[in-house]
Amino acid sequence: MSRRRAAQEPRWVRWSLTAIGLVFLFAFLGLPLAAVFVEALAQGWSAYVAALAEPEARAAVGLSIGIALAALPLNILFGVAAAWAVAKFDFRGKSLLVTLIDLPFAVSPVVAGLIFILLFGVNGVFGAWLTAHEIKVIFAVPGMVLATLFITFPFVARELIPLMQSQGKDEEEAAISLGASGWQMFWRVTLPNIKWGLLYGVILANARALGEFGAVSVVSGHIRGETNTLPLHVEILYNEYNQVGAFAAASVLALLALLTLVAKTVVEWRMQKEMAMLNAELPPEKTA
């Protein structure tokens, strides 16, 4: 690795580029990360714990987790279904489908919230019907789940499509021709092959679901203790100049973000290892 390259920058260039890069990352990533915890603990440990033990903070944590748990399974199912169809078959309009899957990434979170108000709000398409049946979607939890579904829609599919495309369909075809049923093939061949990619997508989707602010804010109505997720709770406390409370809640989210990064790195490492094992198995067959 440390082989001296005939073509490498002079040492002073390497050092100054590294210094510039690290200073930039320190200012934009390191300092904010540190500041979250310093601000949260500014008035000591007991104030920090008290801020987190408040019933409203606890309700917000519960709601955030609940919304993520409601939104993730449907999107996982979609991701697997869409990736299966796109990666293993040919059909007309495939590239259009792939583009449409990415669409929610291109839409502003605020617009993502607005479209559900246009559908389910009082003056929305289904507004009159919902009011007549006394069903609340907007300014209630169902609307927040819908907005989260929209925002986290592409994550799993987007990880799985390239992965399953690169794996081809030989193994599945072998399983079927040896007499496996469709479900046996899926559970014994496909799922073990895609498990790390699937987990990777779920980790990213989960982080986004827990942290989403704009879309959820538009449809939540900000009812304290009822439709307040943890990020919305952070906003309310911050706007009330409750610095310690806001940053205490923010520190929980920051810890979750760090956990996400660790999990992501571990999964990436596992995927690389499996790829390396796969490649190590290949050459003898090829040379034969």
Partner: protein, 285 residues
């Protein structure tokens, strides 16, 4: 048509997979976005443009575009340096730094927003050094650029890293052997190779910045005509029960997003084709 010798479609599940995918895509994405188009048709093209070119809306669009462009440009320059440093150089803690680059993807935008606002306020860790220099960042358009730079940081780095990794060292060595200086090699060989990826990363960061809301509103100051971004204007129209006004602005933003998405797809296609042409064939199955 079912000739006995035609190869049977062995794998099951196309109907189930594609069927579920299409129904779910329609329910969650297409029908809701369709509702936006439907609502905006009440206004017509003229009505939409009237609202979008109002003084406050135009100023918001200008701030949103300007700040997003500036942030994407900053990320283009520093993201290139960071990606280069992470691929080519060795330094202690490199793996940790590499994982940390994804922090803006993982950290909720509201957390980023209040933290950056606190850091860059007059008495904050960074603000207290900038303020004596006459640089006010928090609660000015400059603050929006800072927040959007944070949000877009991983896009450029993560798009560039694999491309820089794929550059064959032989090409650079050949250039050096033939007498090119390091700078000439960079300008003539390396930069053209990574330029499509740089442009893609820049566009991704730009597209993300245009729609960003959570991290910006805390640091922006949100002064109409000065530091108000379009997503915030949509929300304030919603809060005034001006559903049509909000819809008109949302449609304009959606149209811009579509164009950008199309441009990014074209860019990636172009980059992939260029790349394929330059890599020695036969190395991969």
């Amino acid at each position: 048509m079912s000739a006995p010798h035609s190869p049977p479609r062995v794998l099951p599940g196309l109907g189930l997979g594609l069927g579920y995918a299409l129904v779910y895509l329609s329910l969650i994405v297409l029908i809701p976005l369709g509702a936006l188009i439907l609502k905006s048709s009440e206004l017509g093209l003229h009505g939409i443009l009237d609202i979008a070119t109002g003084e406050r809306a135009l100023a918001a669009l200008r701030v949103t575009f300007g700040a997003s462009l500036a942030a994407a440009a900053i990320n283009g320059v520093f993201g290139l340096i960071v990606a280069w440093m992470l691929v080519r150089y060795d330094f202690p803690g490199k793996r940790l730094v590499d994982s940390l680059v994804d922090l803006p993807f993982a950290l909720p935008t509201a957390v980023a927003g209040i933290t950056l606002a606190t850091l860059y306020a007059g008495n904050g860790w960074i603000g207290r050094w900038l303020e004596p220099l006459g640089l006010k960042v928090a609660y000015t358009p400059l603050g929006i650029v800072v927040a959007l730079t944070f949000i877009g940081l991983p896009f450029v780095v993560r798009t560039l890293q694999p491309v820089i990794e794929d550059i064959e060292p032989e090409v650079e060595e050949a250039a050096a052997t033939l007498g090119a200086s390091r700078w000439q090699t960079f300008v003539r060989i390396l930069f053209p190779a990574i330029f499509p990826a740089l442009l893609t990363g820049f566009s991704l960061a730009f597209a993300r910045a245009l729609g960003e809301y959570g991290s910006v509103i805390f640091i922006a100051g949100n002064l109409p005509l000065v530091s108000e971004i379009t997503p915030l204007l949509i929300i304030s129209k919603l809060e005034q029960y001006d559903l049509l006004g909000a819809t008109a602005l949302a449609v304009v933003m959606l149209a811009i997003s579509f164009v950008l998405l199309l441009a990014i797809n074209l860019l990636q296609w172009w980059a992939a084709n260029r790349h394929r042409g330059s890599v020695v064939e036969g190395a991969r199955p």
